[in-house]
Structure formats: C-alpha cells, structure tokens
C-alpha cells in the first residue's frame, strides 16, 4: 500500500502528504486507514485486499488533519508526557540490578510498542468523545503505564493517575485497540484489565485497602 502511495507521489502528485520512514513495520510512521481499517501502510499488501473494487486510503480519523494522510498526533505525546517516569529501586549490594527472564517477559510484550497510535485512533472513547479527551489517555498510555507498573525494579505509583487523569474507568473493554495493534500486543487482556484490577483493589475494595494499612506499617 505504501508503495502505491509513493508511486502516485513520484509520478502524479508530488505533494501528496504522507509519513513514512523505515518501510519495515518498525517505526510506526505510516499509520492510516485502508478501506476504513486502521493499519500500517507498509505492512498492508494490496494483493491481500478485495480485488475488483477501488481501494480507499485515508488518514487516521481521530486526529486533526494536517494534509492528505498526515494528521496532528500531538494528543498522544501530551498524554505520554503526563505519565510519571520510571523510578528505579536501588541496585543490589554488588551494584548490579537483577531481574529474571520470566518476570520481564510480560513487560517486554509492552515494550514492543512502536507508537503507531493506531490503537489510540481506534478507541471509541478517543474517537467519539472529544469532551472526554482531557480525562482519558487511551490504550497506548495504558500499555506504557502497565510496562512501568509491572516493571520488577520500579518503585513508582501511577494508580492515582490511572484512576483520575488517565481515566482507565472509561475504557469498556471492547478490545478494538487490540485488534488493530500491528505488534500484536494484547492491550486489553494483558495491560488494561490487570490495571483496572489494581485500581479496583486499591480504591474500591475496602478489605484490600484495610490490609494495605497493615502492610505499610511494619
């Protein structure tokens, strides 16, 4: 698909606006909607699309249009900037940090994210509720927060953010985000649902909250 767009660019419409960089599905620049479905253009083969009818390609619909296939994705960068960063626990006595493969595998899944923002574009909370955007960070942010919260060496706490500013409660687990993720990150099952559980445990489960009081005071 990207090739087709580039060919049009080279021969018919030099100013056709499109973003692309790596042409190998690694940079997440060429996000668009092909026949209405959010995808990376470089990883979409024309021969995989229905023949005999025109192929439509359009920009991601949830973000303000700049020109042609290029949109203003600054929403995503603003949300990313609001996430409290990694806070390392002190290194071991020998100055080394130890983590085990089985403990990092699940966050390595989240670290695969190429920030294509297709999930953000697809999530109906972002797409259909402009009024909620100030209070909702979207699936990409949840993946990032999950990666931090589940990091074996992180001492930070992002549950207050999740509950309020990031609005994880607004997600109603439709899984549309997971369907479009080109890195096949199981956004809903592995990131969002466990985070929702943590938020619920802390804020809505009186017994857990009570027990935590004891844990905190040694």
């Amino acid at each position: 698909m990207l090739d087709a767009v580039r060919e049009v660019q080279a021969t018919q419409a030099g100013d056709l606006a499109v973003r692309w960089n790596c042409k190998a599905g690694k940079c997440g620049s060429c996000s668009a909607e092909v026949n209405g479905i959010p995808r990376l253009m470089c990883m979409t083969r024309l021969d995989g699309l229905p023949t005999g009818e025109p192929v439509t390609v359009g920009p991601m619909r949830s973000f303000p249009l700049i020109r042609d296939l290029v949109t203003d994705v600054s929403f995503n960068y603003e949300k990313a900037a609001g996430i409290p960063s990694f806070q390392p626990v002190p290194a071991g006595a020998d100055g080394k940090r130890r983590m085990y493969q089985e403990d990092v595998e699940r966050i390595q899944e989240f670290h695969r994210c190429i920030e294509c923002f297709l999930c953000q574009n697809t999530c109906h909370v972002v797409r259909d509720h402009a009024d909620l955007r100030p209070h909702y960070s979207g699936p990409r942010s949840f993946v990032r927060i999950a990666a931090l919260e589940m990091h074996p060496l992180d001492a930070g706490d992002r549950l207050p953010l999740l509950k309020d500013g990031a609005g994880i409660g607004l997600c109603n687990v439709t899984k549309c985000c997971t369907e479009v993720c080109p890195e096949q990150i199981r956004i809903t099952d592995n990131a969002i649902i466990p985070l929702k559980e943590r938020v619920a445990d802390r804020y809505y489960d009186p017994i857990a909250a009570f027990l935590r009081c004891f844990k905190r005071t040694p």
Binding site: L2, D3, R6, Q9, A10, T11, G14, D15, L16, A17, V18, R19, W20, N21, C22, K23, A24, G25, K26, C27, G28, S29, C42, M43, T44, R45, D47, G48, I66, R67, D68, V70, D72, V73, Y77, A80, A81, S85, F86, P88, A91, K96, R97, R98, M99, Y100, Q101, V104, I107, Q108, H111, R112, C113, I114, E115, L148, H151, D154
Partner: protein, 637 residues
C-alpha cells in the same frame, strides 16, 4: 516570506537529530545544566535507531567473565583494520558498559541471563558474547528509554523540524535555521553550541536498509559550516537484504536465518559460498556440504559453514555471483531455508522473521527461498571529530553517532554502532554544554546573521516557487541508480569517474527542481531539500573512494585489489571550498605502544597478513572477480 514569519528560539545547546545519539546528547547537555533544545525531521521516536535489531556491544562480562574493555578494544581495532581513531575505540570499549547499565537504571529491559543479569549474544568479530539485546528489537528499547528520559527532563523538542543550514558568527556556531514540515514556516534557533546527530546517508543508494531519514544532512550541514569530513569512502553493505517486491527491497534478512541453516544458492542452484573461502579462513571453514551441514547439529568441534563467513566476504561473494550473471531476476541470489528445515522448525526458530516477511513481501519462508542481495547499510565515514569531546573543527559544533567518523575504522563490527551512539552522544552533549555555558549567551541577532537567514530562506523556498522543472523523485532515483552501479560493493576508477560526473550533472539539475504545491507538509519540497544533502554525501563518498587506491575493510577497488601500506596510514579528508570539495591526505594517529601491546602478537601478525592476502575466486563459470580477504569484520545488523 517576510522575516516576521520566522519564529525565534534560544537555548544553550541545540541538538539536531533525535536518534540514539541525539537523545543521549540532549540528556547529557540538560544534565550538565544547559538549556537544551532537540530537533528532529520526523516525529519523536521514529528515528532510524528503532530499526536496530541484534544488540549493543559492551564488555559487561555477564556471559563470559573474562571479557573486558581491552578485549572489546582489540576486536574493534582488528575489525576496523586499525584505521580507527584508536582513542575513540578505547573510549567506546571502556564506556559502553556504563552506558548500558545506565539505560537499565532508566527503565530499559534487556533479555536476562539465568542469574538475572543482562544477557549477551554473539556477533561476528566479537571474541566473546557481548551484545546486550532486547529480543530482536534492541533499537526500539533504547529509543523508548532515551525518549522517555528526555521527556522526563523537560527537554524542549521540536518535531518535524528540519535544519537547513547552520549559522555562524565570526567563525563560531551561532545557531541554525530550520523548516517546520507541518506548516512550511521557518524557525531560527540561536545557540552557541550545536550537536549534529543526524545519522548516515544510505538513502543515496538504490538498495538500502536505511530509513528514509538517512539523507546525509549532517555531512552537508557540517561541510557548509566549514568542518572537515573523513573516511567517506567506507560504506558498509549488509550481505543479505531482500530484493523486493517494491519497497521491501533493502529490508534486512538477519544473519540468524543463515545461523538456523539457511544457505545461499545462485541461479544455477550451486551453493556458491564454497568458492569464496578466503585462504586464511580455510582452517576453520567446512570445504564440503556434508561437513558444513554437520556443524548445525553440534555447533562445535566442526568447521563452520561458509555461509557464516565474515559479512564482508559474503557481501562480495553475492555481488560477484550476480555480476557474473548467476543471479536471479531481481539481481539477487537465493537464501534458502525452506528446503533445509521443516516448516515447524522454521516457525519455531524464526518467528518474527516469518511473520514480517509474510506481511511485507507476501513471502512464506517456510516454503520458498528469499531472494537477497547486499544493501547499503552503514555510513562509517562522516564528520571528523575530536575523540574525547566530539568537537568538530568549527568552534561550537559537535557531532556524534553515525554522522561522525572515526571509531569504526575501515569496517564496523555489529553492535558497535549502538554503543557509539551512547558513548559519544553523551560526550558530545556534555562538551557542547560546557562550551555553551562558558561563552556569552547569544547577543542580538547580528546584521550578518539576518542577511544569512534571509538568503537561506530564499534558497529553501526556491523549489516551491518553480511551477516547472525537474521532478525531485525522479532525480533521486537517478542518483540512487548511479551510486548503486558505480559506488557499490566493488568499485573501479572508471565507474567512480562516471559517478563523479553524473553527480555533478545531477547537482546542476537539482538547482532547477520544481516542488510546486502548498507549504503545508509538501513531501516533494522536503525531498528537494534532502536531495541537496544526498548529492553532497554522494559526491564526498565518490571522491574519497576515487582517492583511496587500495582495498581495505569495506572499500573494495577492483583495480587496486591489494591493501597498500601507505594508504593504511592515511585518512582522506574533505573540506568545502569555493572551488568545490578540497581533499587532503592526513596521517592516521598511530597507536601508542601500550595499546599495541593489547593486541596479542599473533593477532597483529594475522592482521597484517590479512591485509595483504587476496583470494581469487574459484569461480565455476569463469568470472574470476577478485575478492579481498576481509578483516575480522562482520555486520550483524
């Protein structure tokens, strides 16, 4: 356009480029106390560095306790044919472990050893398993970690903001003028120190593994500002990249496919790598298919299959086969794993490769061979810098990462580039900050600077104003064809001269490009501007390649197949002058005795033998192309 439309910005340090090197530089500059601004041509997080796969070289000693910086230093120098700036190679080896551990403290998650430490994997030319990695997406891991760190430090970032020219005042750096892609407006960044971290120039070749951002901007900007370039002739090709379809051309097929049993075959069906075993590696390379295939079963006590020879050897072999007419229709050979392993086994060993190639190329590697050919992969040469400070010859101008030259010598070891980004990115950021903080903050814009700005704006806007003229896309294709044909794996005087003349003609035609259309995100206009840099990069490479009348590392001259002692001690240095590029030959810094001692005498001896041994290809149908015996170098990704 009136000046009122140019936004003004001020900082102590301006970092141009947000790949690994630029991000690391910006983080260090900010940590040193400088007000720091970071610019990049595309969105933050999309730089070429995300493509890096196999890992970052650092002598952490987690897998082999005996590994140490001295061994990494020695391997780097051997790989680079001792053309490296030995001081840079030393700093790289000494500081890489600290840089990797620092990433971990910033949240990076590398694969682990059973003891819970950072796992390290093998790569060609590295004596010990040394590459820290996060699966096969190490670049993304490093980029996200640095990007989040930079955001955390509150560094000001301007995305899709492409620097058109550096500004100087009295011979010192005073800032840069940039074009904002989204709006087509200009931005004047004033600062006493600029760090160039713009990556390489690989997009000037037709078949390239590089991201589209690698248009050689930093080399062009530095030249115009008066800085010197060196080692431009050393362009590394990766042996196995896809030949198509479409833009899948150039996509890297990692050495892992060969490691898992994939073999190379020409159009005659011959497993031709047996014909290209360099004399010096005969002792450790299997001479027959039966013995080679035995290796996969045990992986030890056997001679290795010739498909796993050093990358420079494989690159030249594939290129020679194709040129001898034994290639397939897209100009490549077959990399075949389908007939060698069961589908299940392939899927188990190479899961992400299977998936990606199916999507990118509609290719099922469990059933069909992959057509592969060498692709332009890495720009070893670039802006000449001081080892310790990353300073160029222009006061206030620094360079780090792929845009800078020196650390890799005549050929780069896999994994050393990512290490280079962090080690020298940090040094560049620190010294740029110290420089800026030690000078007066920029006073008012001088009359000279205003004139400069107005002149640059006119130049940059020119293609936009031409309703008729050359098509930038087609000009770029012509340049790419030319570089591919004449400044590729093998070079000759006549080919290089043709390229030189063609580039000169293209430069004249580029002055007549039309990119008519709107200001807002107009890719034809962006390409017209990038093309200037690609042409400058191509020209510098071609001239340097013409001047180096020998073969060494990844520079192979068919007409000068042997290395020469004289050139081995000489760097080709280029500077801009009124008459065009001016070339000088300068002596390579000799390694002091105490460092020479780190090289075991046997290795040094072997090294010098390698440099003077040539192997005639034992060709089956008589092409007889000459192949140099490569150094220890190997590209892994």
């Amino acid at each position: 356009m009136s000046e009122a439309n140019i936004t003004a910005h001020e900082s102590d340090v301006l970092v141009v480029g947000a790949g690994g090197a630029g991000l690391r530089a910006a983080i260090e500059a900010a940590a040193t106390g400088a007000r720091t601004t970071l610019l990049c041509k595309s969105l933050l997080g999309k730089a070429h560095t995300v493509m890096a796969e196999s890992g970052i070289a650092a002598a952490l000693g987690n897998v082999h306790g005996e590994d140490a910086w001295q061994a990494h230093f020695r391997d780097t120098m051997l790989g680079g044919g001792s053309m490296n700036d030995w001081r840079m190679a030393r700093l790289l080896a000494q500081e890489a472990p600290g840089r990797v551990l620092e990433l971990e403290a910033w949240g990076a998650v590398f694969d682990r050893t059973p003891e819970g430490l950072i796992r390290q994997q093998d790569a060609g030319g590295h004596r010990y398993a040394r590459l820290a990695h996060a699966g096969d997406r190490t670049g993304v891991e490093i980029m996200r970690t640095l990007q989040q760190r930079a955001v955390q430090l509150g560094i000001e970032v301007h995305m899709e903001c492409s620097v058109q020219q550096l500004l100087t005042r009295g011979g010192r750096i005073s800032g840069a003028l940039a074009l904002r892609r989204a709006t087509g407006q200009f931005a004047h960044f004033r600062s006493n120190a600029v760090v160039l971290a713009t990556g390489g120039g690989g997009r000037a070749w037709k078949v390239s593994s590089n991201s589209q951002e690698h248009t050689g901007d930093g080399v062009n900007l530095a030249l115009q500002a008066g800085a010197a370039l060196t080692d431009m002739e050393f362009v590394q090709f990766h042996p196995t990249c896809m030949t198509g379809p479409g833009s899948a051309q150039g996509t890297l097929v990692s050495e892992a496919v060969r490691g898992a049993g994939g073999v190379l075959r020409n159009a005659e069906g011959r497993r031709f790598m047996f014909d290209y075993i360099p004399e010096r590696l005969r002792g450790e390379t299997a001479p027959t298919e039966t013995e080679a295939d035995d290796w996969y079963a045990t992986r030890q006590d056997r001679r290795r299959p010739p498909e796993l020879l050093p990358a420079d050897v494989v690159t030249r072999a594939i290129d020679a086969e194709v040129r001898a007419g034994r290639g397939f229709k897209n100009g490549g050979v077959h990399l075949d794993i389908a007939t060698r392993r069961s589908s299940d086994e392939i899927r188990r060993l190479l899961p992400s490769t299977c998936r990606r190639f199916a999507l990118l190329a509609g290719l099922d590697i469990t059933r069909e061979p992959i057509e592969v050919a060498p692709a332009c992969h890495y720009s070893i040469g670039g802006v000449r810098v001081e080892a310790e400070t990353a300073a160029t010859s222009v006061p206030g101008l620094y360079a780090a990462g792929e845009v800078a030259a020196g650390v890799h010598g005549a050929s780069r070891l896999g994994g050393n580039s990512l290490a280079d980004l962090l080690v020298f990115g940090r040094r560049a950021g620190m010294h740029a900050a110290l420089h800026a903080l030690g000078t007066e903050p920029p006073a008012k814009v001088s009359a000279g600077e205003s004139k400069d700005v107005a002149r640059i704006v006119r130049l940059v806007e020119a293609p936009l104003g031409r309703s008729k003229g050359e098509n930038p896309y087609l000009l770029q294709r012509e340049l790419q064809e030319c570089m591919q044909a004449h400044v590729g794996v093998f070079r000759t005087r006549s080919g290089l001269e043709q390229a030189r003349d063609k580039i000169a003609r293209l430069r004249r035609r580029a002055a007549k490009i039309s990119a008519a259309g709107p200001r807002l995100y107009n890719p034809a206009w962006h390409l017209a501007l990038d093309l200037e840099s690609m042409l400058a990069f191509a020209q510098a490479t071609t001239l340097a390649a013409l001047a180096r009348e020998e073969s060494r590392g990844c520079h192979a001259r068919e007409d000068f197949p042997a290395p020469s002692a004289e050139f081995g001690a000489t760097s080709i240095v280029l500077r801009s002058s009124l008459e065009g590029l001016r070339m000088t030959r300068e002596a390579v810094n000799a390694m002091p005795e105490e460092f020479r001692k780190l090289m075991v005498p046997d290795e040094l001896k072997q090294f010098f033998e390698e440099q003077s041994t040539w192997v005639r290809t034992k060709s089956t149908s008589g092409s007889g192309a000459a192949t140099p015996a490569a150094g220890n170098s190997k590209v892994t990704g």
